[in-house]
Symmetry: C2
């Protein structure tokens, strides 16, 4: 299926805005089930991802200053454990991120503060053939960020981790 | 069951060492299934914990310099989500830890290096009545650290997080 076929509502919303003369900066598309979908890729936040298994935690320095954790669906975990590259179609990775916050209870510890972004990678070699087989989605408060931000995803993954099927995170053993 | 009833092999091992004239600094007890068991508490590393759900990531500053992730069994996750305090018997928390390592692929990122410790908390209000209902286990390469280290666990948890049922980690939402 062409990515655009999964995106509905965006066009209608823009038409409604044009008709009303309003500029809606927060417009986003939705998929056929009504979930907010990332521009370009149509990627949505997968149901139940918070219960998925941990691939690895990470820390992101300033200016983001985030604690992060990447989790994966069953296919992702199996591929990591078996060392399967490229990841098979159906692999989904989700990166959770929180502002880093000093623990008030243990001086040397840093713990998660408020949630910032949820970032999703979906493997579909055919649908996303132009971007290494991966679709990308970046969400804030459940809503995708704009198209300009999504245009930066693959270029960075391609430049830095092509040899790991465009995926930064390794399984923490 | 008294904690000591679950520990086997320690006495036999010490007797063997005494007979042979060897001092074995790495001696540890095992539980009835043969798994290495923490001194004092008899806590073992639970099977399958690496597949448990994420409670929260954390960072521990120098001198440990570790990235960490706490995972919990189903009872732990349910208690966190429902805000149940104290945690019910059968709650098990496992903290995984790795040396923090600069990513070689993304300058601002810190990722897990080699694994350091696995630390376990098991809730059994009756068995561990003297320590807030919690048994503690600290393991390196699958083997428990010594009794002196285990004697420090509860005092710290008691002094700092008594109001959260002696548990530091909060659920990262």
């Amino acid at each position: 299926m062409h990515p655009d076929r999964r995106l509905r509502g965006h066009g209608a919303l823009l038409r409604a805005c044009a008709a009303s003369g309003l500029l809606v900066a927060t417009a986003w598309a939705v998929d056929e089930s009504g979930k907010p979908a990332a521009p370009i890729y149509g990627v949505t936040i997968p149901d139940g991802y918070r219960d998925w298994r941990l691939i690895a935690p990470a820390l992101e320095d300033a200016p983001l200053n985030e604690l992060r954790a990447v989790v994966g669906n069953d296919r992702a975990v199996a591929a990591y454990r078996d060392g399967t590259l490229p990841f098979p179609d159906g692999t989904v990775l989700v990166k959770l991120a929180w502002k880093r916050m000093p623990s008030t209870e243990f001086e040397s510890a840093t713990v998660p503060g408020r949630a910032t972004t949820v970032q999703v990678m979906v493997k579909d070699a055919k649908r996303y053939a132009a971007t290494g087989g991966w679709g990308f989605g970046r969400f804030i408060d459940g809503k995708p960020v704009d198209e300009a931000q999504h245009q930066t995803c693959f270029a960075c993954h391609e430049a830095r981790v092509r040899d790991h099927d465009f995926v930064f995170t390794r399984y923490a053993r």
